[in-house]
Amino acid sequence: MLRYLARKVVVYLLTFFVAVTIDWAIPRFMPGDPVEGLLSRMQAQPAAEKALSGYYTNAFGFDVPIWKQYLNFWAALLHGDLGRSVQNFPTSVSELILGALPYTLALLVPAILLSFWAGNKVGAMAARRKALDNTVLPVGYVLTATPQMWLGVVLAWVFALTLGWFPVSGAYGFDLQPGWTLEFAWSFLQHWVLPFAALFLVAFGGWAIGMRNMIIYELEADYSNYLASLGAPTKLVRKYAYRNALLPQITGLALALGAVVAGAIVVEIVFSYPGLGTLTLGAIQNRDYFLIQGIFLFIITGVLIANFLIDIAYVFIDPRTRIGMQGGR
């Protein structure tokens, strides 16, 4: 088991290494000069331009040999220094990211967990009731083929603008300050519903369909047939099928994390939700390279860690992996 986990750690470290290198390499090997690009967008005074040029060249590290740039990048990274944002100068990138992070997590975590739980439950139910199946399947396919940002826009249009049940943007009322007050909490909740729904629904469709197929597969497995042949009640057969079908779903969860995060980014933009998504859009529009790089690394690290945690959990959940690792019989 330890060897298995060690192998996984190696892959994740390698991935992290590759990601950081890509992150570092791209601005340096892309056509065009990032410093030039930045300056031309700023349209600064010639005098200021010179100073800025010097600053950026230094910040990017273009004034030192390339291998040194690489090492410096790593050194800074390990200190948690992701540079300073260009558009929000002199705020540090880390500060901006950490400020936006809670909002993104507030959307992501419930969306992931609830859609996984609800989707699997509904998928399992659909697998045994034909009538339900005939609704769940088409709905599920439509949902999973829906671009999250579009769903966000539609939800906003219907529920916020037309029906007026929910606010259309932001994470809380403009007149409020974040704090541990009931008023803020209520406002936060109201603003949270629609973006959450956009993420939840699309993911839900995916899990439901996946689980339905998995359950059907498990119900046809030899062990299910054997139990049924010995007269076991359907409840028992279904219980076994459900547990076994969950396993590949959990692996799927790890692999789908990247997609969910991407979904969160675009949904946040639609609702001007002050999370990493809106931050990213601003960074892209303003060519704030350091911020983009910082967000990129942050997301990757987050996804890697989450993957690793799921891998560990999986070893404990699936006896086959556990025993296979120990060399079995």
Binding site: T146, W157, G258, T280, I284, V303
Partner: protein
Amino acid sequence: MAAPRDLEPATVPQAGVATVGGPAVAVEPQAAAGAPVPAHRSEFVYFALRNWKFVLGLGVVLVFLAAALFGPMIASHAPLEFSGPTDQPPSSDYWFGTTSFGQDVFAQFVHGLRAAFLVGAVGGGIAWVLGAVVGFTAGYRGGAIDDVLNMLTNVVLVIPTLAILIIVSAYMNVHSYAVEAVLIGLTSWPWAARAVRAQTFTLKTRDFVDVARLSGRSTRQVISSEIAPNMSSYLLMMFILLFGGAILIGASLDFLGLGPSESVSLGLMMNNAFLSSALVLGSWWWFLPPGIGIIGIVGGLYVMNVGLDEVFNPRLRET
């Protein structure tokens, strides 16, 4: 198809924005059973046309394809041309109304469909080729080659596709949808590689392959006459899924403003609509069609895939 889990059944894709999580199509469970071969071409066609899911999905996709091919010919205005009054609802002059800049939404829509199909075909195609080659080589050769390719696959797999694409597109001004599609293809192949590898493993150990080898056929012959036909149905279904996934990823990229800005795509339409507050103005004719287009094409592809799975795997057919 879900993220391949060596021999484990699939899950549905998470509106494949980044990684194509994998459509619900139970393609992978068949990894254990082996993708079966229809006896004759005609048997395939017979069952395919009788499967309503396949027919429905294919029908929807073909409708949109026709719109993509012929729409731009019948559209009366160029998509980016500021031809008319701004923010008009659909009328006889402008079937889908106009944008805040006075552009013809219908023209944009059908041109956007073209871009979508292009991105799907090229992006999905590249991912497909890469995934199939890497997966097959790893599965068939095994050993050290497998280990290396596996590591490569895992590394690229875990990195969120959108993150990579954001970084690359941010620095590199993407000028055409073909380029965007290539980028998408280069980052979404790992999942396909894993699936093909698992399938190759199952087939490699099948008895008929051993028999072929024992009877002295060369590796190339074994691959082309024993393994390939069994994999062909699987590969076809994978391509469809990759196609759909590429479209979804492309739409997100365009929505973020990272796609080509000089032409039109469905994602870009949504981006523009959003940025011009079409939502607040209530210009539903502007932001609804692009989404419906994507849902239609991608959803149609997924449903088609389910139908194909039933056609190829008699076990799933209903009597």
